[in-house]
């Protein structure tokens, strides 16, 4: 068995081990790995996430037992200080020797600290390892306790900006100091840098370009930066991120050939001047260059493995691509190919939009046939497509400006045309070097069937993740071409998607869950398919949630929202948020009578909490006796239509937003749908009702209403998109009827309108064609279906309290009248709350 010693356990060192383990000849070798950091290899690319709450363990490249499972000896906190090439041994800092047949140098790099007087002062750090981050965090804490908060980052490159953001996350005022006249000078031109600078300054970071630091001020601890131009910047901390230097000391000492400015010289086999020693990653000097990106490092690891095992003669490519796409301080930045190209042989096409903070530049060959490189700031969604065009040297379209301005012909075609048109050797995932051929091949040869399979078998998309949308498109397209339809079945009990089940139920007229399960499903059903079929039947037959209670979602079954201790909340409907003082007093009386915690909701109504199951019917009887009805706050159905006060009172109002909101809420109340639906009506463009954050939003403008659809707040906020302009009340209702019914019939389970539109082929333009132009000839059907639902509305709580059978559902015990004796409440600001979870 041959011995391989790997010096360095960073990302590239780990990748070498991973590739080796995957090799068929792995069993013929024994790997021993030395890392000088105290922990096993972690993801340095996402280091700043350490401050966002990720632990060192989260960032780790492998599980704790991975090395052991693969019979690799990992020595952490151990530094190799000597290589004896004649005897083929290495020695650690304690003098213990290990012999090798092959030696891999994966020592990486360290932060470059420029020789500025004063860098040794207290409060000066580098940004490289988890230990560095811990030290920075501790010092920031100390500064804050002393009332100090100014921190500078030296270096406005990629890593420097990451560091600046991290410093800001720690609650300090972050200054970026850059020697060059612009940020990210290797990737961006002045225009791109200006937009990036404006963007990050709007987030509170300060940028100082063209600043050369003369010395660091301070007596013992840093107090400021003195610039060569005579000005200064007072700061309490400095993080240096001014580039990297290869860690080549031990390799140089044993006489391996090194570059003038550092780095161990390697050939395209990753071999150093010693036949038994390879160098990979940031310590390797290849083509007289050090490559500080992870993707080429991974390629080098791969080359070294295949050279040692001799399985294939895999050589490092000549031209290494330095394209990058990343999110810096919330701003998308990408740069590819020859991004900065200033020669006269190119034509640059530049789009700059300072209002929305977007800069795009593409460099085109003079003859207009080839894309040579480009820059994207603020919106890098076109990166994958542009990169493919550049990388595969595809012929450019007639109007290359469309590549960055978008296809303005309105047919919704993608930049690239069809992903399947890419050549097989087009590299889709550059982190893991996975080609289109490898992705499609994995499906075609039968080894993979799903996106998940493809990702785990090819590793595509497991690096930065930027290529995932393209991988998914390729997987879907390949499956389709093989006749394997991409099936979005709802659960193990039904081989159908929601839309198919909707059609089946409607066509066959099924009225019971069991009928559908017996004829089209299998097993006993589950918590996914039961409420889904209940919702479909409700949308077809205007059923309330009292129909076949056991299949209703657990909140629908009890017509209330279950809360933290198993009690429920009660929300009566207050259409448009308009309520008389008399009714408001009733609500107060009810809250008091049942001792309920009371709060105003975001949907302009009142929520009562802490109602026991057995109390629900009594509370609702009181509310209904006073003219209230269910607010459906528990349902996947229309919740509220929020309104501003509109022209009835507001001096700016253009129309009666409250009146219209009440009319819309009354029309669609309780409308059962794939997910909850919210609406809003604003009386003018000041938009006080926040209508564009809703599934449908109506805003009064000169000459009518503008109708927006498919917005939401929540985890992924999205503004609603304009469906129609300057339309009257009747037209708003007509379009809403069609839109809502179309959504209800075609959306996936628990898919809100924004996500639905996102997945709808053709997007908003297609939706306009369906809703406004009636392209599918469905308008009459959609309208009459909606009319039936509206006409058959019943308040399900009124229905419940009038029916003794339904009332039985609200007893906590089937064999006792007693309430749940397990509930404990504690006081909270003159009200009550459930005792904390333990």
């Amino acid at each position: 068995m041959k011995k391989i010693v790997v010096i360095g356990n960073g990302m590239v060192g780990y990748k070498f081990c991973e590739k080796f383990v995957a090799s068929e000849k792995f069993k013929e070798y024994k790997l021993t790995v030395f890392g000088e950091e105290p922990r096993r290899a972690y993801d340095r690319v996402h280091l700043s996430e350490f401050y966002a709450g990720k632990t060192a363990e989260d960032l780790s490249m492998s599980s704790a037992t991975w090395y052991e499972e693969n019979n690799i000896d990992l020595h952490t906190s151990e530094m190799i200080t000597e290589i004896d090439r004649a005897k083929k041994t290495v020695a650690n800092h304690r003098g213990i020797k290990y012999s090798y047949d092959y030696l891999i140098l994966a020592t990486g790099s360290s932060a470059f600290v420029p020789p500025i007087p004063g860098v040794e002062k207290e409060g000066v750090f580098v940004y490289r390892t988890i230990e560095d981050l811990e030290a920075i965090e501790a010092y920031a804490k100390k500064l804050k306790s002393e009332g100090k908060a100014q921190a500078a980052v030296l270096g406005g490159g990629l890593l420097g900006l990451e560091a600046a953001n991290a410093v800001k996350e720690l609650g300090l005022d972050a200054h970026v100091v850059e020697f060059a006249p612009r940020l990210m000078p290797r990737q961006l031109d002045q225009g791109g840098s200006d937009i990036l600078q404006a963007k990050i300054e709007s987030l509170g970071l300060k940028v100082h370009v063209s600043k050369q630091t003369d010395f660091i001020q301070g007596n013992g601890a840093i107090e400021g930066l003195q610039y060569v131009d005579g000005t200064e910047l007072k700061v309490d901390m400095l993080v240096i991120s001014a580039g990297i230097r290869p860690r080549d000391e031990v390799a140089k000492e044993c006489g391996l050939e090194a570059g003038l400015r550092g780095g161990i010289v390697v050939d395209n086999r990753m071999k150093t001047s010693d036949d038994s020693i390879y160098a990979i990653g940031e310590v390797a000097l290849y083509n007289n260059m050090i490559y500080g990106l992870v993707a080429p490092g991974y390629d080098m690891a791969s080359v070294a493995v295949s050279q040692i095992t001799g399985e294939i003669d895999n050589l490092m490519i000549d031209h290494i691509d330095m394209s990058t796409q990343l999110k810096l301080i919330g701003t998308e930045v990408a740069s590819f190919g020859d991004a900065l190209c200033d020669s006269n042989d190119i034509d640059a096409i530049i789009y700059e939009n300072k209002r929305s903070g977007i800069y795009k530049r593409i460099n085109i060959s003079k003859d207009g046939t080839k894309l040579l490189g480009g820059i994207l700031v603020g919106d890098s969604s076109d990166y994958n497509a542009l990169f493919q065009i550049y990388d595969t040297a595809m012929k450019l379209p007639e109007n290359p400006e469309n590549l960055i301005l978008g296809n303005r012909s309105g047919d919704g075609g993608s930049l690239l045309g069809d992903v399947m048109d890419l050549p097989d050797d087009a590299q889709i995932c550059s982190c893991e070097s996975v080609s289109k051929g490898a992705i499609c091949g994995a499906i075609e040869n039968g080894s993979c069937d799903t996106l998940g399979d493809v990702i785990s078998c090819t590793k595509a998309g497991t690096g930065c993740g930027g290529c995932k949308p393209m991988v998914k498109d390729l997987v879907d397209a390949t499956l389709k071409s093989l006749g394997k339809e991409v099936k979005d079945t709802i659960c193990e009990h039904f081989e159908y998607n929601r839309q198919e089940l909707y059609d089946i139920v409607k066509l066959k007229g099924y009225r019971k869950y069991n009928e559908v399960l017996d004829t089209h499903g299998k097993g006993d059903g589950c918590e996914v398919c039961k409420p889904l079929i209940a919702s479909i039947m409700a949308s077809i037959y205007a059923d309330t949630a009292n129909e076949e209670a056991p299949i209703q979602d657990s909140n629908d079954r009890f017509l209330a929202n279950i809360q933290r201790n198993g009690t429920y909340s009660v929300v009566p409907r207050i259409p448009g948020g308009e309520i008389t003082p008399e009714k408001l007093i009733v609500l107060g009386e009810v809250g008091k009578k049942y001792d309920l915690y009371t709060k105003i909701t975001g949907g302009q109504r009142v929520d009562f909490f802490g109602a026991r199951l057995d109390q629900l019917p009594k509370i609702w009887k009181d509310l209904i006796d006073h003219g209230f009805e269910s607010g459906h706050a528990y349902g996947k159905s229309l919740r509220t239509v929020k309104s501003c006060v509109g022209s009835t009172w507001c001096r700016y109002g253009m129309d009666e937003s409250v009146s219209f909101a009440i009319a819309l809420e009354e029309r669609y109340k309780g409308l059962r749908s794939p997910h909850k639906i919210k609406g809003g009506v604003s009386g003018c463009i000041r938009e006080c009702a926040e209508a564009r954050c809703k599934d449908f939003g109506v805003i009064a403008v000169e000459g009518g209403w503008n109708l927006y659809v498919c917005g939401n707040g929540g985890a992924n906020p999205k503004h609603a998109e304009l469906l129609a302009e300057q339309i009257d009340n009747e037209t708003v209702i007509k379009y809403l009827d069609r839109f809502l019914m179309f959504y209800i019939k075609t959306a996936a389970p628990l898919q809100r309108t924004a996500k639905w539109l996102d997945k709808l082929d053709g997007g908003i333009e297609y939706l306009k064609q369906v809703v406004i132009e009636d392209k599918l000839g469905l308008a009459d059907e959609l309208e009459s279906e909606m009319a039936a639902l509206v006409g058959n509305f019943q308040c399900e709580w009124t229905q419940a309290i009038e029916d003794e059978e339904i009332m039985k559902r609200f007893n906590h015990f089937v064999n006792s009248e007693e309430p749940d004796d397990n509930l404990v409440f504690v006081p909270l600001r003159d009200q009550k709350m459930p005792e904390h979870w333990k």
């Binding site: 589950c526 657990s554 039985k808 064999n815 749940d820 397990n822 979870w837």
Partner: protein, 125 residues
């Protein structure tokens, strides 16, 4: 709060010393559950009418210790009868109490028998 769990121990048909008469079959929803009070215990009882089988388990969900499982939705996972907690959709096998979608402790299960349209639950004490 963990002491709540201590009074619930899985009981097999052989362990049963008392068959507690809970309620009429018609008092329970079909293909759904209801809660039975037995001494200081709360027991969730489920009627799988499609298979003509009944199951019983503790009403308390071991995730957050709330008395809610009887209000959960029933179904099966690869043929294993299960209940999904209404709080966070944790699912439990009604055959052996195992948490099917996580690593929570198993819930205690109890035998059920039906005689003369009446539901009996078996306890060892």
């Amino acid at each position: 709060m963990e002491e709540i769990l201590e009074i619930y121990k899985t009981t097999t048909a052989e362990d049963v010393k008392i068959w507690f008469k809970a309620a009429k079959v018609s008092d329970f929803p079909k293909n759904g559950g209801a809660c039975v009070k037995y001494k200081e215990k709360q027991i969730a009882v489920f009627n799988f009418e499609r298979k003509n089988t009944w199951y019983a388990c503790q009403n308390v969900c071991p995730h957050k210790m709330e008395m809610v499982l009887s209000r959960g939705m029933t179904g099966d996972q690869n043929g294993i009868p299960k209940v999904a907690c209404p709080m966070h959709k944790k699912t439990f096998s009604l055959e052996n109490g195992e948490n099917l979608n996580g690593n929570l402790d198993s819930i205690a299960t109890y035998p059920v028998k039906i005689e003369n349209d009446t539901v009996y639950i078996g306890f060892s004490e």
